[in-house]
């Protein structure tokens, strides 16, 4: 049972079915999904409250209040309030739009229709109005938007098949039973709403959405704190300066001026000065920083949404940045945690190849006898003669069809086995087409293949299996069903054919089955074994196929023993297992099948490219170890070139610890011996890079760990061993893990490696991991929505991850870093001149610039060019970003913006502020204008400084911008032009005439900026500020070019004649031998089949008509009410919906 946080643990729920009044007493939550935050009335107060909770905004509010104190005020009120209002309005608009979209999507879910029994009638009701205790009628293929208790279904034994794609992305059907007491109640599926709205298992499991922050965010916050500390230091220096100055000069000067103010206390004067300077210098951390960062991220998010190369046309799904605040983190990913099913694989199994009696079918041979890969260009086998074909099935080798036609008995037997030995249920739809209900997609693939080759599984009863063999219906008697389990790794059926022969058909893992073969199979075994290795080498899932002829007598004896065993009370399982062993021997090998667990498109290339980018990929899957390893090989994460693949599969803590220890020993041991061998220079370079981060080992290792072991390994004392081992491995595969474990693994890496993690998945079982990782990605365009809803980014195909990270992520990071560097530089240069000026103006908190300039500098004069750079800049093209995954590394190592970089920017800013202040100071100190007038008046000085500053920072951004689009041109030139036009407007006679107190700089621009010496000063300032930076950058690129620099140079050369870039060849691993048994299979289906529980007595067409249901609905309701009201009182709904 789950409980919500506020209420005490809910031990039981008392619900009276179909009694809304009674249930209302308990005030269970309603079924409305409510994720939006505001409504029209609450928006303003709540939003403002939230905004001022942000430290930055609160800080600026505090400054604003300070400014209103006349003794402290050193800036006019508008210098702070204009940017603050602008920032808050922009954020509010963004919040409002976000919330509106949330509201819209809620509405869509809430308004889905359901049929609810109200007043003894079925009524159409919106899902949001469904109440706890309601009885709901569901029909085939309906959405379910609450946790339900299955009361009854139209299927026999109250079974129902549910698809949990929206929960876990798995499309195979899961069986749920109704309770026996309720199961006889009616035909269609009827369910009792048990948990609603926020109480649903899903909503409770989804956990609180944590507010994700990027590492740049955290760094930025630290830096802002540092800057604030720096600010306080400056303030203190100036305050002390003020006290000293007042003491030595100020008091005398004041008395000379007849300044009638009461004698000031020196310390108090210093104190006031401190606050005044805090106000003036606050522009070091301009309020527009946070907004600009948001705007840039928003821009990057739109680029992701707009990217045609991440649009999946088959499902009409574009990529979507659902969170707009994490983009640059995409450029710093070190670990990718990937789900398997639906993410790496399509969860589609196709029958690819088989080996029958030593001959491989399914391979194409060209004229030279060379094997070629099956390509789409080849003509597939034409199955149209067979009316029952599954049209989606394609096979390219015509020789198998020929063999069937020639009547090769082994081939027939092989296909017959496929048609007989399985747990598939068949059904005919209204069009008379056969529909298979498969419990595992592997089996589906095999049975479908047999069907297309003319061995059509038609129907089954508990005692018989009817198949159509090349046009003739044959009914086999099903004598025994030897079910699958994890130890046996095989399943068998024993059937009697119409001729009366008894046969055992078996399929299973090659390793297991090969031990059971008759000795006469030796040659065939060797051949088939080779074939299986070959299949496995291609990443196919293999099964060995064998049969055995049984004579009546033997079987009867055996069967009797089996019945005894079944009846036995003690050691029943063991006895049965023994009997199974007994009969499944001396098998005759038929061959092997190879099923492809279809990878998503481009997975191999993506994995390769990401690993070149030094991104470690961990596969976390609920699948079995074999399946997981298989996929690991299929998508090249595991290769035979690897020095070792460690498999941790211990069941106890001790075992796990021991295994981990051994693996580590092994790893370091091998490393020691191989390290004095050859080291590739490239590797060496990489080592240097990594050496700070972690110990490195040469050679590739992989770790496979299963869920049980993981549970132990995640315990505190072994955790570090696990982590250490795992991080040294190139690939880590965790199989059979629960959703919670997925999150724990992510958390482990996140916490202890201090690395940026990304989780990608498609189902609800990935939600916790998606939420836990720094970046969560949901595969969209599939039925399941939960992963997408929890994710930060979504797209339809795993392969888009490559583009998202290597192009969008890298650019975002690159741009954000450039932006931040420039922004801090700019504001240091802008603000620190006040500090220098303090020493000349008696520390009186006089600003250097005009108040309007201070107001507009960050939001008008310099905001757009840097935003344009932050949004559009590219160092290398997207194509080169993809072609050279190594370009991604600076992001992982956080090279482009870190504390060191920040200090460089800060030093740059301080240097510029020195040049900005002292060059005009030196020049003006004695200078006069062309008309003999003094130029060193405060206003001219302010205008000169402001103009120099705007020009210097514009030149700087022009140098920083490496990708000059039209927009950059417009913004950069436009900003300078805007500065001058605003300057001249504000200094115009008209403005002064209307507002003499606000615009006292009348005539200043035209008088100052027509002086030659002022332009000489501006020019000199620009040269002195920019040249050293330029020289430094040039030397850096020349002496220590980064990969990006080199590629940029190449790019330039390439542009004229671009050679066709050859894509990296797909590397497929050479064959290797692995056990390939890989059923996505559950135990227990055999029993279901033999008991006939999952079969209808007759085969009525699926009923969906409402009239029919209504006619008998009263009866089952009455029955139901009588029988079940008291038994309903408490339920473990784990039985109802299993995640």
């Amino acid at each position: 049972m789950f409980c919500s946080k506020k209420k005490p643990l809910e031990v039981k729920r008392i619900v009276k079915a179909n009694d809304r009044e009674y249930n209302e007493k308990f005030q269970y939550a309603d079924n409305r999904i409510h994720t939006s935050k505001y409504n029209i009335l609450t928006f303003l107060p709540i939003n403002l409250f939230e905004q001022f909770q942000r430290v930055a905004n609160a800080y600026f509010l505090f400054l604003l209040i300070l400014q209103l104190i006349p003794e402290i005020s050193s800036l006019t009120w508008f210098t702070t309030i204009v940017p603050l209002v602008l920032v808050i309005t922009m954020t509010a608009v963004k919040d409002a739009t976000d919330d509106y979209f949330r509201y819209k999507s809620d509405k869509q879910v809430n308004n889905r229709q359901s049929e609810v029994l109200i007043d003894s009638k079925l009524q159409i009701e919106k899902w949001m109005n469904v109440k706890v205790g309601d009885i709901i009628k569901l029909e085939n293929n309906q959405f379910v938007a609450a946790d339900l208790l299955l009361l009854s279904s139209s299927e026999p034994y109250g079974l129902c098949y549910i698809e949990t794609a929206e929960l876990d992305g798995e499309t195979n059907l899961k069986v749920r039973h109704a309770l026996s007491v309720t199961s006889e109640l009616g035909e269609d599926i009827r369910r009792l709403a048990n948990f609603d709205g926020p109480d649903t298992k899903l909503m409770q499991n989804s956990g609180k959405t944590k507010f994700k922050r990027t590492s740049i965010d955290r760094l930025m916050n630290t830096l802002v704190l540092w800057i604030f500390g720096f600010l306080i230091c400056l303030g203190i220096i100036l305050a002390i300066g003020n006290s000293i100055w007042e003491n030595q000069v100020g008091t005398q000067f004041r008395s000379f001026l007849f300044w009638n103010k009461e004698e000031k206390n020196l310390v108090f004067s210093g104190f006031l000065t401190f606050w005044s300077y805090i106000i003036i210098l606050n522009t070091v951390v301009p309020i527009s920083l946070y907004v600009s960062v948001e705007v840039i991220r928003l821009g990057h998010s739109y680029f992701i949404n707009w990217d045609q190369k991440m649009y999946y046309s088959q499902k009409a799904t574009p990529a979507a940045a659902r969170t707009t605040t994490l983009n640059e983190e995409l450029g710093q990913i070190e670990y990718v945690f990937s789900d398997k099913t639906g993410t790496l694989t399509q969860n589609i199994m196709t029958f690819k190849k088989c080996s029958i009696n030593g001959r491989i079918y399914g391979e194409e041979h060209d004229d030279l006898g060379q094997k070629t890969d099956i390509t789409k260009k080849k003509k597939p086998v034409d199955f149209s003669v067979n009316p029952q074909v599954d049209k989606t099935f394609q096979f390219f080798d015509h020789s198998l069809m020929e063999s069937i036609k020639l009547g090769d008995s082994k081939v027939h037997e092989f296909l017959r086995l496929l048609a007989l030995c399985h747990t598939v249920m068949s059904e005919e739809n209204s069009a008379g087409q056969l529909i298979y209900q498969v419990q595992s997609p592997d089996e589906g693939a095999l049975v479908t293949a047999a069907r297309n080759f003319g061995f059509i599984f038609k129907s089954r009863t508990p005692e018989t299996i009817t198949i159509e063999e090349l046009g003739t219906l044959v009914t086999y008697q099903l004598l025994a069903f030897l079910d699958f389990n994890n130890v046996r790794k095989r399943m068998s059926v024993i059937v009697r054919n119409p001729e009366g022969q008894i046969k055992l058909y078996s399929k299973g893992a090659d390793t297991i089955l090969f031990e059971k073969l008759h000795l006469s199979n030796e040659d065939l075994l060797a051949l088939t074994s080779d074939h299986i290795s070959e299949f496995a080498g291609e990443g196919l899932r293999t099964l060995a196929i064998a049969y055995r002829d049984l004579d009546d007598k033997y079987f009867n004896e055996w069967n009797k023993m089996l019945e005894d065993a079944n009846a036995a009370t003690d050691e029943r399982e063991e006895r049965i297992a023994g009997l199974y062993e007994e009969i499944e021997r001396d098998l005759m090998l038929l061959g092997a099948t190879a099923v492809e667990d279809k990878l998503q498109e481009g997975v191999i290339e993506t994995v390769l490219s990401l690993s070149l980018a030094n991104i470690k990929i961990w596969v976390l899957t609920g699948d079995k170890q074999e399946t997981a390893i298989n996929i690991g090989y299929a998508c090249n994460m595991l290769t035979d070139d690897m020095n070792e693949v460690f498999i941790i599969a211990g069941n106890t803590a001790m075992e796990v610890r021991e295994e981990l220890r051994k693996a580590k020993e092994n790893l370091f041991g091998q490393n020691r011996s191989s390290s004095n061998g050859h080291i590739v220079p490239e590797k060496k370079q990489q080592l240097e890079l990594d050496s700070i981060v972690e110990e490195t080992v040469t050679g590739d290792y992989a770790l496979v760990i299963n869920g049980h072991s993981l549970a132990h390994a995640l315990e505190s004392d072994v955790k570090n061993d696990l982590l250490e081992l795992a991080c040294l491995c190139k690939t880590v595969v965790c199989c059979r893990v629960t959703p919670l474990q997925k999150a724990q693994v992510v958390e482990l890496v996140k916490k202890h490696r201090n690395a940026v993690t990304l989780a990608i998945g498609d189902g609800a079982n990935d939600v916790s991991m998606i939420k836990c990782a720094h970046i969560g990605i949901g595969i969209s365009g599939q039925e399941g929505l939960q992963a997408v809803l929890a994710s930060d980014y979504s797209f339809a195909q795993f392969r888009y991850l490559q583009r998202l990270l290597l192009v969008h992520g890298r650019w975002s990071y690159f741009r954000m870093c450039k932006f931040l560097c420039y922004f801090f530089y700019k504001n240091f240069a802008f603000t620190l001149v006040h500090f220098w000026f303090g020493f000349f103006c008696g520390f009186s908190a006089q600003t250097v610039y005009d108040q309007w300039f201070i107001t507009l500098f960050n939001i008008v004069y310099t905001s757009l060019p840097v935003l344009a750079m932050g949004i559009f800049d590219q160092d290398v093209s997207d194509r080169n970003s993809m072609d050279f995954p190594q370009l991604y590394k600076p992001g992982q190592l956080n090279l482009l913006f870190n504390k060191r970089r920040f200090f460089i920017c800060m030093a740059h800013g301080i240097y510029t502020s020195l040049a900005l202040f002292f060059i005009p100071y030196g020049a003006f100190y004695r200078d006069t204008g062309e008309d003999g007038q003094h130029v060193a008046d405060y206003q001219s000085f302010a205008v000169t400084m402001a103009t120099s500053l705007v020009i210097v920072v514009s030149v700087q951004i022009a140098l920083d911008t490496s990708y000059w689009t039209v927009i950059n041109h417009v913004f950069i030139w436009g900003s300078v032009a805007t500065y001058f036009s605003i300057l001249f407007t504000m200094h115009s006679n008209v403005m002064f005439g209307v507002f003499p107190n606000q615009f006292p700089f009348v005539g200043n621009a035209r008088n100052s900026l027509t002086q030659k010496c002022i332009w000489l000063v501006i020019l000199l300032t620009t040269v002195v500020s920019v040249m050293p930076v330029l020289a430094f950058r040039f030397l850096k690129v020349d002496l220590f070019p980064t990969l990006s620099d080199q590629i940029r140079q190449r790019q330039k050369a390439q542009r004229k004649a671009r050679p066709l870039h050859s894509r990296r060849p797909q590397t497929r691993r050479s064959s290797s031998r692995r056990s390939g048994y890989a059923f996505a299979h559950q135990e227990g289906y055999g029993e279901l089949i033999t008991s006939g529980k999952n079969m209808r007595a007759k085969n009525p067409p699926p009923t969906s008509g409402l009239e029919k249901t209504l006619s008998n609905s009263t009866s089952w309701i009455e029955n139901f009410c009588k029988k079940t009201t008291d038994t309903m009182s408490s339920f473990n709904q784990n039985k109802t919906v299993k995640l």
Partner: protein, 348 residues
């Protein structure tokens, strides 16, 4: 997913250059040729400009006489604020060895006078000074009204502390005759200041225009008597007043006081010879440990350019050239290395 066709199409992002981040763009690349030629050009320009500025600064003739201590007795008198009404003048003879050719400007220069204090700069009323509302003294801080409540005109600390020495330059024509060097007291302000920023209130005559206001406490005369010879130059539009009101950025500053009227003996400038400054010493600089001097100066094409600008230009130019030479050397060395080790390039 059985969405209608149009919707599917609409989901496909537009194939525009902007949305696909394919905007045609110039890729800025700091190539060696560009950077080095830029550096050479800049260096050449700065060096040239520096030399020109240095030469022109050299050509400037300048005489500065610090008279704080020369007129020690007056300074002593002014130290006590009670004596502010008493007159005191002193005469400072000096010899000009060379002719000062062309326009000659006379400045007063103050040391240690902080016209740039925050509260000082604010202590003025623009509405009053533009003649709009002479009784608007709200922003003038401590100098709003006299003790009996009459608004001060011009109000504020700036106006109150106006420089009020009178400096007359005398030329020793021959052994005994000193003639007054003709000086212009007008044309020493910006047009915008004189005609926009400072305006006398409209009235029949000046005294009535300023009726109902009091003179600043530190002043001897009311505003409308600032220039007794020229009523056009009196009131707020008095150019000495305007010059003073344009506050200086630094504690040491010089302000234009007079310019030479080039007539009679002075059409070429100030001829060499003996001169004397006659100074009515009113401004008490010693009280705040300041100093004051009087400056005569000529100008060049760029104004009264100082050595500083020329010097910094020259140094910048030299350093830039030095930097470009060393950068070139480094670059060529690297190019050589690349030729011998072609592997240095991008590894693919």
């Amino acid at each position: 997913m059985n969405k209608p066709q149009e919707e599917q199409l609409s989901l496909l992002p537009d194939n525009t250059a902007l949305k696909q981040q394919r905007l045609p763009a110039y890729r800025l690349q700091l190539s060696a040729s560009k950077v080095l030629s830029g550096f050479f050009a800049t260096g050449a320009f700065c060096l040239g400009m520096g030399i020109i500025l240095l030469l022109s600064a050299k050509s400037i003739k300048e005489v500065e006489i610090n008279y704080t201590n020369i007129c020690a007795s007056c300074a002593k008198l002014r130290e006590n604020a009670i004596n502010f009404d008493k007159e005191c003048s002193c005469s400072i003879p000096f010899y000009l060895p060379e002719i000062m050719q062309g326009n000659v400007y006379m400045y007063y220069k103050l040391y240690g006078f902080h016209q740039n204090l925050y509260h000082y700069i604010l202590s003025r009323s623009n509405t009053q000074l533009m003649g709009k509302n002479i009784k608007d003294v709200e922003k003038c801080g401590s100098f709003q009204k006299t003790s009996n409540g009459t608004p001060i005109c011009p109000c504020g600390a700036i106006a109150n502390s106006m420089f009020n020495d009178t400096i007359i330059l005398l030329y020793n024509l021959n052994s005994s005759i000193y003639i007054k060097v003709p000086m212009l007291s007008r044309g020493i302000t910006w047009w915008t200041d004189k005609y926009i920023k400072f305006q006398n209130p409209k009235s029949i005559d000046l005294p009535s225009a300023f009726e109902g206001t009091a003179k600043p406490p530190y002043w001897r005369k009311p505003i409308y008597e600032l220039d007794e010879d020229d009523p056009e130059n009196s009131g707020f539009v008095n150019e000495d007043f305007i010059v003073w009101m344009r506050t200086a950025a630094f504690p040491t500053f010089k302000k234009l006081y007079r310019r030479l009227h080039r007539i009679q003996y002075f059409t070429e400038g100030l001829p060499a010879g003996n001169y004397s400054f006659n100074i009515a010493y009113n401004f008490p600089v010693t009280r705040f440990q300041g100093e004051k001097s009087v400056v005569l100066s000529t100008l060049t094409w760029s104004g009264g350019s100082s050595l500083f600008l020329g010097l910094v230009y020259t140094v910048t130019g030299a350093v830039t050239w030095l930097a470009s030479f060393s950068m070139m050397a480094i670059h060529l060395m690297l190019a050589k290395r690349k030729m011998f080790f072609p592997n240095y390039k991008v590894k693919l």
